[in-house]
Symmetry: C2
Subunit: 227 residues, 2 copies
Amino acid sequence: MELLYKGKTKDVYQDQSGEIVLYFKDDMTGKDGVFDPGENQVGLTVEGSGRAGLEMTSFFFEKINAAGIPTHYVSADIEAREMRVKKITVFGEGLEVICRYRAVGSFIRRYGNYVEEGAALPAYVETTLKDDARQDPLINEAALEALGILEPGEYGKIVDMTVKISELVKDELSRKGLELYDIKLEFGRDAETGEILLIDELSGGNMRVFKDKEAVGPLEIGEYLLN
Amino acid sequence: MELLYKGKTKDVYQDQSGEIVLYFKDDMTGKDGVFDPGENQVGLTVEGSGRAGLEMTSFFFEKINAAGIPTHYVSADIEAREMRVKKITVFGEGLEVICRYRAVGSFIRRYGNYVEEGAALPAYVETTLKDDARQDPLINEAALEALGILEPGEYGKIVDMTVKISELVKDELSRKGLELYDIKLEFGRDAETGEILLIDELSGGNMRVFKDKEAVGPLEIGEYLLN
């Protein structure tokens, strides 16, 4: 297989037939050895985290596909830590979409003058550009259109998909007594049809989850969810 | 008159009849003696700048009122550097609305990966919270509603008013050979009727203006415009 791109937590390959294969590494985002889904760098390496990330991603992507929400997911080989996906193009150099149910993290850093840490939010959606050097700047619908990153009308579609996906994840976690505080999704376009798809992964590294007001680590989430 | 509030560039009084009077000071926002409309602190004091700010504000607010766009402006006494205004309530602790025709300032700092400095923008509108400690954070429509700062539907009204006002200012400047790069407006609600009004001032300190690719200082803008 040909290596196309080395990412922070995944590498991207193309096999002989032209299909795209994501390889899940044991690296996690964070800082100084502490996991943080909001960080832009690899902060720690944990044996088994790649496999766990793929297991949870495959669990959610199959449910999301089944719910009729289009994703790039085709199939997963858990032992090999490989996920087969559709070929996609990203929006600009990557667009992240965050759905928040509780005011924590960067939301509180920005709007702490108006809301208590941990206060409930109504599936609030915001978008940020993937741009490590500029700390993933927040961007609104008008700027996404002005910069040619989204076409008119696409922002609303992405927000709708984000809320549906986040509700599905929230409900699955809730069955195990876990509460979703926030979740970070990534979208792209199907390289062939142009359809908007959920891309990347959907694992413990993409979300903040709490149980009885205590944070649940990214690997622990999978243990609750898949057992 | 009773002093209600001491601002960075204006003080707010209430007279015996209950009317609100803004007193325009000679202080300007900036840093280390250099004017910057994006700064949150008083950076310099220039004799005559208060009077010049009121002259330009009165010039524009009369035109904006005449165009049927509601503002808080009632009348001005240029000699006394006083502007009579309607009593208003602000959105949250103050909402600033920026309309951009060229990619400069914080827009480039955020989105410089996608656009050249100085590139044209199509009357792009964004909103920030007045919060010096948090460097006036950018905020989107959904967050303004989630935090109870705007009611559903108000964001769109404010964007419409902003574009109309900005176009009017742009056209007036253009008649004098000046180009508007960006402009910062503030809105509030009429304390009696709840109607959304343009508030605060509209002077050289609220806008970046260029002539033949050279920046025009805030006091100079008035000299071009009013002579």
